[in-house]
Every structure is written in C-alpha cells, then in structure tokens.
C-alpha cells in the first residue's frame, strides 16, 4: 500500500509514546538488507575511465593518430586525435585490480572495490546526465536517489535529516535540483551540510539558549491551549516537531565537530595534507562517516573546487586530473579503512561515480570531451563483491561492449543492497506509480557479494 500512502501525503504521526515515528514508506525491507546507509562519492564533471580504472594499452599505439572508431557527436564538437593515457597502470591487492598512478591510496584498498567498467549514460551534457544520475530522469524536478532512500527506509536518527549533501565547494551542474525531493514530500530533500560555517541552515540558534528557553515556555503555553481547542493530529505533530527542532539544534554541532577525532584518524584522512583541497575533502569524508554512524540514510559527498573546473578536463587533462585525484584519493582510501576498522564498512555502501566518462580521443590537443557510451564506476562495502571487475569497454575504452549497464541498473543495485526491490518502492504521482528506476533497472548481479 506504499503508493496509497503516498497518495494522501504522509504526515508525521505522533505515537502514543510521544515520539515521532520514523517515517518510512516501507514497513520492512523487501529483501535482507546488506547495507544500512549509502555514501555517494560524486565525481563531478566526469573522470576519464581510461586514465583511472580501465587501462587501454591500444591507445598508446594510436597516440596522436586519427581515432580508429566512428565518433559520435560530442559536446564541444572539437574532436582531435587519439590520446593515450599519461598515467601508468599497475595491478594491486590479491585481486590484481588495475589502478592508475592517479590513485595510489585507493589502490591500497583495491580488494574492497567492485569496478564496473561498462556503465553508460543517455546524455553527453552535464546537466541532463547529472539529473539522470541523481534522479533516474534526464530532466530537473524528479526526486533524488537520496530522497527515495529516505522516503523508503526512513532514517534511524530523528535528530538528523535522512539525506545529507556534504558541500565540498562544487554543487553539481544542474544545481540543488540534483538533490530535490521532487514530487515526494519536501522533508526528503537533501539537506546541504557545509564543513565550514553553519553546518545546516537554520539549525543554529541566533540567540542565547536562555532566551530561547523563555520563548519556548511561552510558546508551549499558547500551543497547549490551541491544541485543546483544535483537537487535531496535525497540531499535535507540529508541537512535537517543535520540540524535535530544539534537539536538532544540539545534535548538529556535536555531529559537525571533528575535534574529537583522534590525531591518528585525522592524519589518516589527510587533515594535515599540504594540499588544501585534500584537507577539505578529508573533512567531508570524515563527516560522512560520522553521519552514517548516526544513522543518516544517504550521504552525498561533492567535490572540492580544485583548479576550478571539477573533473571536466576539456583541456589540460594532465594537470586537471592530477589535481582532482590528489584532492580525493587519500580521504577516500581513509574512509574505507576507517569504516572497516569500526565495523561499519559492511553496512555502508560506498559508490564512486560521475555522470559520464571521457573520450579516449582528444578534445583539441590535450583534453578529453564527455563520453556517455562507456565509463567506470565502482562500489565498495555494503554487501558488494570486493576486488571484482565487471563489464568491459572496447579496446579503446570508448564504448561499453561487454555487459553494458545503465544508470538505472546502478540505482537498482544500490536499492537491492539496501534491501529494497527497486520495482516495489513507488510513489503515486501524475497517474503513475513512479519509481527511481522508471520502467528500467536490473540488479548488477555480479557486483553483489
């Protein structure tokens, strides 16, 4: 009856025990849940698959020569010759996973990764592709995957939102619409959390607590009289939500403070890195761990501003990718190690993905254009099969040729690991039982450990 519940618009219901019930559309998961939370490491702009996790030695043979395959229209329509990867690949771990020199730290946890080399998207343009990646639809205004998860599974901490976006400095192209609740109730939209300044909007009192307390008492007197007069559950819930808001004010600063992390942990993430972007991303990753520790359902981590333009290296691939990789490499590896040693990795699904990859041929002389036809994403933890490689692109890394997957399949797999059958988490809107995967999606079986 999920859809019916959605139809009437769910309201926070006050239980007899006086607590706000965890809001969730699903009474129980459809399947045994492997993961409890998701940390989505969004690689803004599109890292190049052939320079990171999908080695293509054949590119070197053609380097500087015309690209030997038919080229589809690209975003900038300025296609150059074949461009070999400037980085070396080596095998790591027991699994012998191939990782390029861009990710020395991540290479150290290679056996945790499940690399999918045959992901595809439907769009060559950032925003359509971003909306697709985040919401399963290439247009703005649809609910984000984080909103779906919070809607379906609720959150396990009433003092924090169920879907948090850690703002690294770059909001993805497409803007905050990537994190919207769309037609789902607004409570499920992503709450933007900043690693500096006020962590969550309006969660910090603008006045002394004593002053707030005096108002609180007056409000309580007025409200109890109003409740007596207008005997309605909506009023009762609003009063309870008001109390909850005070508790959130206390919970958020505690959460956002990283001072209590041990020196060793801080160093592991890279709090002391000479690279300010690494330091910034380190704080984001550490916060992400703290959020899932506290039961937040879905955390998206956005990228820091490095040399300006995300992973979107239309020119000067070498400098741009190096700067972006350096910012995220150590913190990501630390996140995996830290979660693991705390016993949280098995219940936390980490997903590393961009909206698309990049062309194996050059844009101009030394850049790469957008490539939705075959790119790499990886997952770790949360019931994922570590050290595995799934699917393949052609010999030039241009198009997925073996087990090509769609973004919908990635969503279906994420849902599956959370114990949700993606076909059965629906919301009635506009005459249809809408779902994150629309009418698509199949679980990537090989990725499930």
């Amino acid at each position: 009856m999920v859809a019916l519940a959605g139809l009437f618009g769910r309201e926070a219901l006050a239980s007899d025990a006086g607590e706000i019930l965890a809001e969730r559309a699903l009474g129980a998961t459809h399947l045994p849940a492997r993961a409890r939370s998701v940390i989505f490491l969004y690689m803004d702009g599109g890292p190049s698959q052939v320079d990171t996790f999908d080695p293509k030695p054949r590119l070197a043979d053609y380097n500087g020569k015309p690209f030997p395959m038919t080229m589809a229209p690209t975003q900038f329509n300025n296609n150059g010759n074949t461009l070999a990867s400037p980085w070396k690949f080596q095998q790591f771990g027991e699994s012998g996973l191939w990782v390029s020199d861009l990710f020395p730290h991540v290479a150290g946890v290679a056996d945790e990764l499940c690399v999918i080399r045959s992901m595809t998207s439907e769009f060559s343009e950032h925003t359509n592709a971003n909306y697709l990646l985040h919401t399963g639809s290439g247009i703005p205004g649809r609910p984000s995957m984080g909103a779906w998860c919070a809607y379906g599974l609720g959150d396990e901490n009433n003092n924090l939102p169920g879907f948090v976006v850690l703002e690294g400095g770059l909001i993805p192209p497409g803007g905050l619409d990537c994190f919207t609740a769309g037609f789902l109730p607004a409570r499920y939209q992503g709450s933007v959390m900043r690693p500096v300044g006020e962590a969550i909007a309006d969660a910090t009192p603008r006045e002394k607590l004593e002053a707030q307390d005096r108002k609180r008492q007056l409000i309580a007197r007025l409200d109890s009289a109003f409740l007596h007069e207008a005997d309605a559950e909506a009023v009762e819930s609003a009063i309870k939500n008001h109390e909850l808001a005070y508790r959130m004010q206390a919970a958020v600063p505690e959460l956002a403070s990283l001072d209590h992390e041990s020196k060793e942990t801080q160093a592991l993430y890279g709090f002391d890195s000479p690279d300010p972007n690494t330091r910034h991303y380190a704080r984001e990753c550490c916060l992400a761990r703290r959020l899932v520790e506290r039961g937040v359902r879905f955390v998206e981590v956005t990228c820091p501003r490095t040399i300006g333009d995300r992973w979107d290296q239309h020119n000067d691939l070498k400098a741009g990718h190096e700067a972006n990789a350096h910012a995220v490499d150590q913190p990501i590896a630390a996140l995996i190690r830290d979660l693991k040693r705390r016993g949280l990795l098995e219940s936390t699904l980490i997903v590393w993905s961009a909206e698309f990859g990049r062309t194996p041929f050059a844009q101009g002389s030394n850049g790469r254009d957008h490539n939705p036809f075959g790119f790499t994403v990886w997952m770790a933890g949360g019931g994922v099969k570590g050290g595995a490689v799934i699917g393949a692109t052609d010999e030039f890394g241009y198009r997925a040729v073996e087990n090509p997957y769609q973004v919908h399949d990635l969503h279906a797999t994420m849902m599956h690991l959370l114990g949700v059958d993606h076909r059965r988490l629906t919301f009635r809107f506009g005459g249809r039982d809408m779902r994150l995967t629309d009418v698509h999606g199949r679980v990537i079986e090989g990725a499930v450990g």
């Binding site: 690209t74 400095g169 919207t180 607004a186 059965r424 506009g430």
Partner: protein
C-alpha cells in the same frame, strides 16, 4: 492511509457497524468506480490494459470484450455471472506464487478486493465508462433528511453524501472570528484586518459576512492569492534550471497577467483559451497593452531548458513532452505525457493523441515578442504605409523586376525571396509593417525609392522596433545563405525551435548574428546606399531538421532581408545572381505632386514616434503546419504513422460535422475543444481545484489525475453541479463566492467524522508557505502592498551554491513584498518557502504537500527572516510609547491570530515581557527587545500557521 489511521478505536467500531448494518446492505451492487476499476487498473492494466504492445497472453482486462474473450488455451478470464468459470478469480487467489496474479512476488489482492471482484462478476461484470470520460450530469440537488442545515443547493449535495454514509450534518458552525480568518486567508491569502474583525465581531450578521466576502473578492489581493494557485499548475519559475540556471526573459509578465485575469474575473473559457492560443484570439486590451491575450501563452514555455543539447531534436521533443504534461494535467486532469512511448497503460489515451498535441506544439514557436502598448501604433503604421503607397502611385513608381535567380546555380535551392514583402512572415512591433511599400521614408523626411521584395525594418523609420520570422522550413542542404543588410540588429537561424543560443552559444555558435553596429559615417547615410551582404550558416549537423529565420530590430538600428537559399556550397552565389537590379524608376519622386503624400507619411511617422514603445514578452506564435508522426517508443529518430495535429481522440466531438478544422498549428482548435461547454474534462478539473483550495481536500483527491489511477470523486453529482456552473459561463469569483457562502464552508471541522466517501470539514489546515510569510510581513508592519512588476531578487544563503548563482542576494525580507512577487529561481529555490511546501516548479502541482516537519520549526525559530521581521515588529511597538502593554498585546493577538487574547494569555504575555525586559542588556532598547522576543514567539505559535 490517512483515513484508516485516523479512525480511533470507538469510531472504527461505529463505522463498521454502520457499514454492515445500515449503509451497505449485502445486496448492494458493487461500486465499479470505487471497488473494481482502481483495483484492475493498478494491479492488472500494466500487462492487460489499453497498451497493446506490452499486453501479455493476449488478455485485455480494461474492456468487456477483452475480458470475456476466449483465450488461446480455451479459458475465459471473466464469464459474466459465473465467478466459478472465471479464470481471473482462480489466478488472483491462487496459492502457488507461480500461478498467482499479479506475478513476480507482487502483493496479492486483499480478501476485500477479491470479494468485490467476485461479486462484480456475479452481477454481470458491467464495465462502466471511466467516470471522467462520461458527460457531466445536470442533476437537481438531492433532497436531504435534515432540511434545517443546508443554505444552498451545494449544501444539499454535500449533506447527501454524509447522510448516505450514515453521518449527520456537522454539529457546529465555527465561531465568527475563526470564520473571518478562514475566509480572509482563503480569498486573499492574508489575515483579516483588526478593523474588519472588530466590525464583524460586533455584528456577525449574514449580510456583514457577505459584504466582507465581496470586499475580499474585489480586492487586488484576491488575484495575488488565486493567481498563485494557477502558477502552481503552470510550473511557474523565472529561470531554466540546468547548468547555468539562465533566466526566462520577462517571466514575471506572465505572473502579472495571471493575477490580472483573476482580479478582473476573466471567464474561465477565455482564460484557458488564452493559455493555449492567446496569440490567435480576438485581441483583449489589458495591463497597458493593446492586446494582453498573447501573454497567456507563456504557459507553454515556463519549463526548464538546457543549453547546447548534443541532440537538438531530442531536446525539442523533451521540452514538448514537458508542455504536454502540463496541458494534460492542468486542463484535462489527464496524464497525457504517459502516452509518449506507448498507448496509456491505464487510461483510454492512445499514443496518437500525444503526437497530435506534439504536432500542434512543434508548429508553435517561442518568441520574445514586441507587444504594443499604444492603441494608435498599428493604425498609424497602416496609415503611413498607405500614404507611401499613394505617393508611389502619384510618382508612378514601377516595381523592380525583382527575382532571385539562384535556382540557376547548381545544387542550390531558393527558400524565400520575400517577393511579396514577407506576407507569410510573422512580425511583431511596427518596424516591419511597411515592408511592401515601394517607397521609403528617409530620416530627414524625404521619400526615396525602396528595394522591392524585401522585409525591411527601416522602410518607414529606423527608430521603430520589431521582429519578423519566416515560416518554418526543412533543412535539406548543408548551407543556408541569407542576403541581408543593416546595422545594430540581429539575424538568427533557429533549429528545431532551440533558442538558448542567445544565452550560451556553444554548439550553436554563429546561429545568432549581430549586424555591425553603425559607425558615425554609416549612420548618416541612407539605408538604401548600404551594401548587401550574404550571411552563410553551416547547418551540417542539422540537415533533416526544421528551422526558421528571425530578424530582430530591438532599437538603434535596422535590418533588411532580401532572400535566402540553401546550397551544398559554402560559397554563396555571386551577388549579381541574387537580384536583377533596378528597373525601378520614378517619374516624379521629388516633385510637388508627392508633397502632400510625403507630409502624410511624415505626420504618421512622427505620431508613431510619439507613441509609447512596445514591451518585450514571451509568447507563442504559429510557425508551420506540419503533422507530426508517432515517435516509436518515444524516439524522435524512429517515426511511425502520421497523426493529424491537434486532433485528439479524447476530445473528439460526438457530432463529427461540428468538429472545427485545423488552422496553422491547431492550437486554436485545441483551445476551442478543451473549453467547449459539452466536454467535461476542463470544467471538472477547474471546479475540483476551486473546491480543493477552499476546503483543503478535493472532491477528487488527485486534482491532476482523473484517470484510472487517480481517485474517484466522493460525489460526482456535486462535482458535476459545480462544473456545470463553470461550463455555463460562470466565473471563478462567482463559484468561489457561492462556495464560501455555503453552510458547509463554515462548519466546524471534526476529525472524528471524516470518511472517504463523504464530505467533511478538516479540523485544521496548515497555511501555505506564501500565507505564512505574508502574514508575518503584515503582522510586523513590514508589508508592502505594491502589486506587480519585476520580481524581488531571490534571497541567497550560504547553503545555496552552484553555477548560475546571482552575484547578489536579494533582501532578507523580500523588501516587504508579497511572496508571489519573490523571484522563483529553479536552482535557488527559497528555503523558507520550500520548508512549507511551495512546490518544486517541475510540472503541474494541483495539490501541495502539507508536510509537518522539524525544518518548519527551525525556519521559524532561526531563520534570518523570522528574526528580522520580529525585530521590525518589536521596534515598531516599542516606539508607540503612548500605548499600554495591554493594548499592544491586544493588537499583536489580532495581527497573529485574528482574535483578542484571553485573560490567561494576556497574563502570560505580560509576564513574558517582564522577564525579557529584565534580561535585556541594553536599557535604552529594553522595550524593543521585549516586544521583539514576544513577536518572535508568536510566529512559532501553532495557531499562527494553522487555520481553523
């Protein structure tokens, strides 16, 4: 699950007793609309419904013939009157999950649902036409047992549903103060003034209430309130989302237009027709425009849009699908967009209907038009043209033997040589109005020979502004050559109606060209002496697509178009091949006999210069008359059968002879059919929307979906009664007034007697985002009632980042303006408004969520807005040194809750003020601090945000 979760134990018992013993006798026929149709639709139609392509096992359950047909294996899904022989029951109730339907582990039907299906088959399996497709009933109001309660026919319909459900009329009316607050917010979105309240409380007569209602309906605030409801349906926003969140130019004019239409109570049929085809209707002067009707058509273009789509055709198809979604939901209550890839899975809407509508919209272009503000402008331009013609006759001007001979150039094709002065081109503004005249008027007022067969913005006067657009044409060759001349003006080629190159040229670089700005020497020369030039456009990526050419003279320059041709060669034909020049001659151009005409021309030109200038606005315009084929599986690269544009089967007239024909895009036809009084969709959706906004609950709970997956009305009789009022020409204000004056409207809500099949008043409704913010402004005294105009810049917080972020944040308090005047930027939506469920402007939203979450409490406790307005209010009160605390507290209670404080509340407030004064650090601002704190607390009181 609200209805069920809300019933408390004793009531549940009572309800079932009623249901078993009195209301639904065992012998009652199954209600097909409620008990059968929704179950079959939701559980069976995705594989056994109207969509033939996805149908499984050849079984179709949405028609009687399909459901009762003998299937391949000899069985029949439904044997009317014989449940035992009906295979469907065996499959629905099978224990073996492999056998059971619906398959693949989906939940089986409940016992109640199964029993209903069984009974329905037993009773003959009668398929009623889906209710929303049936004609409207014009039934008389029913008689009711309790004749003392109803005040109007509407009340009798309402009470009948309660009596049928075993419920009495509501026991109590609401108290006068609460009634006035309810009516005031519902009609104007604002609380009542203290003066209104005191007057009504001193004499709560019916006449006084009616007078209040009439004043509210007549106030400009009415349009601001009800216009905003419409903006929810139109997915109103002022930016385009996507990467850079570019602005939709002049979007606010649509907002002002909508508010004006509601305030002047434009008949609904006309208003809706203007949304679809305002550019094609009889002109209607309003808003300082000679014709405001075209402004309505911005409704078609308020969706998001992306820059530089790699596949421009797909991009156009997506944008059109977005508009179809809005048209379908907002006007028909039908989810037409579901039929893009296949026949609708649940409703009888074939995919052909989607492409009939897509055809109409693909022949419609989005234009930043010039709309006249001066009623004399058009006739003056016509006068001037006639005078030029007369002068040409007197001077015996012979037209040039004008011809484009490019056809002689191998591989090239003439597209348009404007030999008729661009008669087939659309123009706006008056700049191009005199294009066909053989003479032109120079800046010094002398007449000159003009080039014939051109489209010219300077024929009469270089000072006029305007634009002209060619009919759409197919791109069959790589190069497009345009022979033009001019200065400080624009020439554009638009591919598949893609316009966003004006903001970001990537991939469409060069499709929009500026003709050189005039330098000092050129500016003084006669335009006639300017050299022609050829602008060549490389359309290699767009062969097979559709395009049109636009000329824009937006001030300070001019543009003249001679001809265009398509060719495979990048090199344009030599100039002598474009035009055979000049046999034009004049016997007596400068002689005394033309002086009189010249004076007339100059007089008209000068008068035209003195007219108020046109404004720019976003409107629709017909561009062609192509039919659009079905896109197989929704792909614009895979064409299926052709579909006559604008001919929707669901709108087909019963009498085919009465069917209007299709002209141009067909939007006019659509507007006529949708607003036809005999077709039920529009009237029912509109009536339901009005009811929903006044009661918080619709007669149909799913206002944007009257289809199979939507809810059924709890009283189709009432819905049709209200819909008929509109269909017969009743206006929104008339309908709203009739409803607000019912007994039902003033009923005291009671949670205990809400039932799914009967009317009931809600005990409370939470105010919507706009009302809460506007009430805060009004209470604090910061309210600025100014209406209309460009939006107040969006307030940006540190948490609102991303590309396209405006350089500056708007003011915290929105300059005191009503919420409807705050800018709606898709990528930077106002967090305060979002917290209180202002909808994401993605598509039609007829029913907002009314969420109840801690974020709302946090917004009232900690937002800059709440603190700033509380401080404003507190300071204002502190400055009123002549007044006592008591009278200030009175005024605060009236402002916040529309009533006087009770004594215990007054005591609490006095005590609170005392405590705050004591705690204040700055003795000089003690009073202000104390009142600020009290004001802030009142914003957080639940009574402030709830309506009884």
């Amino acid at each position: 699950m609200r209805w069920f979760s809300r019933f408390r134990a004793p009531l549940v018992l009572a309800f079932f007793m009623l249901e078993g013993a009195v209301i639904v006798p065992a012998a009652a026929a199954v209600d097909y609309d409620r008990a059968i149709r929704p179950v079959l639709a939701a559980r069976c139609y995705s594989c056994h419904g109207p969509d033939g392509e996805s149908r499984k096992a050849g079984l179709r359950l949405d028609t009687f013939a399909g459901a009762t047909a003998t299937l391949k294996d000899g069985v029949r899904a439904i044997v009317p009157g014989d449940p035992a022989a009906s295979e469907i029951l065996a499959r629905l109730s099978a224990h073996d999950p492999e056998e059971r339907m619906p398959p693949d582990g989906r939940e089986p039907l409940t016992a109640t649902e199964l029993a209903a299906v069984r009974q329905w088959i037993q009773e003959g399996a009668v398929y009623a036409q889906p209710w929303a497709f049936r004609a409207m009933d014009d039934g008389a109001a029913p008689t009711v047992r309790d004749a003392s309660w109803p005040r109007s026919e509407i009340d009798r319909f309402v009470l009948a549903t309660r009596e049928a459900a075993g419920l009495a009329a509501p026991a109590q009316d609401i108290d006068p103060a609460a009634l006035l607050r309810r009516a005031s917010f519902d009609l104007t979105g604002l609380p009542p003034t203290e003066a209104d309240l005191r007057a009504y409380l001193s004499d709560s007569s019916e006449a006084n209430f009616e007078a209040f209602v009439d004043r509210a309906l007549a106030s400009p605030a009415f349009g601001e309130r009800w216009g905003r409801h419409w903006l929810d349906l139109a997915r109103y926003a002022e930016t385009l989302a996507h990467e850079f969140d570019y602005e939709i130019p002049d979007a606010w004019r649509y907002r002002d237009y909508v508010i004006d239409c509601f305030n002047r109570d434009l008949p609904p049929a006309r208003f809706v027709a203007e949304q679809l085809a305002g550019d094609l209707l009889e002109p209607r002067a309003a808003l300082g425009l000679t014709n405001a009707a075209p402004l309505g058509t911005a409704y078609l273009f308020l969706g998001p849009a992306t820059h530089a789509p790699v596949d421009v055709r797909l991009d156009e198809a997506d944008r059109i699908a977005g508009s179809i979604d809005v048209v379908g939901r907002s006007l028909l209550g039908m989810t037409l967009a579901c039929a893009r890839c296949h026949d609708h899975k649940f409703d009888p809407i074939p995919t052909r209907d989607f492409y009939a509508l897509a055809g109409a919209l693909r022949n419609t272009r989005r234009v930043e038009s010039f709309l006249d503000t001066d009623p004399r402008a058009a006739s003056l331009a016509a006068d001037a043209t006639s005078a030029l013609d007369a002068a040409a006759r007197v001077a015996s001007v012979s037209p040039e033997a004008h011809s484009l001979v490019a056809d002689a150039t191998p591989g090239s094709m003439r597209l348009d040589d404007a030999s008729d002065g661009g008669a087939a081109w659309d123009q706006s503004g008056q700049a191009f109005a005199a294009s066909r005249a053989l003479l032109g008027c120079s800046a010094d007022g002398s007449l000159r020979l003009a080039e014939s067969g051109t489209i010219d913005s300077a024929r009469l006067d270089t000072q006029l502004v305007g634009s002209a657009r060619s009919p759409a044409f197919g791109i069959s060759k790589r190069y497009l050559h345009l022979r033009v001349r001019g200065a400080s003006s624009w020439v554009r080629v638009l591919i598949d109606n893609y316009w966003l190159d004006s903001a970001n040229a990537l991939l469409f670089d060069g499709m929009r060209r500026r003709l050189a700005d005039a330098d000092a020497t050129q500016a003084t020369r006669d335009p006639r002496e300017w050299e022609w030039r050829v602008e060549t456009f490389d359309l290699a990526r767009f062969v097979g697509e559709r395009a049109y050419v636009e000329l824009i003279d937006d001030g300070g320059g001019w543009v003249e178009f001679d001809a265009m041709l398509a060719s495979d060669e990048a090199q344009p034909p030599k100039s002598e091949l474009w035009d055979i020049d000049g046999t034009a001659s004049a016997v007596d151009l400068l002689g005394p006999s033309t002086n009189a005409q010249r004076d007339l021309v100059v007089a008209a030109r000068d008068a035209l210069r003195a007219c108020t200038p046109p404004i720019r606005a976003l409107v629709a315009e017909d561009s062609g008359q192509f039919d659009e084929p079905v896109h197989v599986r929704g792909s614009p690269r895979n064409y299926g059968e052709g579909v006559p544009r604008a001919e929707l089967s669901i709108l087909a007239a019963r009498n085919a002879a009465a069917q209007p024909g299709t002209i141009g895009s067909g939007r006019l036809r659509l507007a006529g059919e949708i607003t036809d009084p005999s077709r039920p969709f529009l009237w029912r959706t509109l009536a339901n929307r009005v009811w929903l906004k006044l009661f918080g609950r619709g007669i149909v709970e799913t206002p944007d979906d009257f289809g199979q997956l939507g809810a059924a009305p709890w009283s189709r009789e009432l819905l049709d009664h209200l819909a008929m009022k509109l269909a017969r020409g009743g206006t929104f204000k008339e309908l709203i007034r009739a409803i607000v004056l019912t007994r039902a409207y003033r009923a005291l809500g009671d949670e205990e007697t809400l039932a799914p099949t009967a009317w009931g008043a809600l005990p409370v409704r939470r105010l919507d985002a706009e009302s809460i913010r506007d009430a805060m402004l009004l209470a604090s005294g910061r309210f600025d009632p100014r209406a209309g105009g460009p939006s107040v810049a969006a307030r940006l917080t540190e948490h609102m980042q991303g590309r396209g972020r405006p350089g500056q944040s708007g003011p915290v308090d929105g300059a005191g303006r009503r919420s409807v005047y705050l800018a709606v930027r898709r990528n930077f939506l106002d967090p305060f408004m979002q917290a209180f469920d202002q909808p994401v402007p993605a598509t039609t939203c007829g029913k907002r969520h009314t969420s109840n979450v801690p974020a709302q409490a946090l917004a009232l406790l900690n937002s800059d807005l709440a603190h700033e307005l509380a401080a404003f209010w507190g300071k204002r009160l502190a400055e009123q040194s002549a007044l006592t605390d008591d009278s200030k507290i009175d005024s605060m209670w009236f402002a916040a809750f529309a009533r006087a404080p009770r004594e215990d509340e007054r005591a609490a407030a006095v005590e609170f003020l005392g405590g705050e004064r004591a705690a204040a650090l700055d003795a000089s601002a003690r009073d202000a601090a104390a009142y600020t704190a009290l004001a802030h607390a009142l914003f957080s009181a639940k009574e402030f945000v709830f309506l009884r």
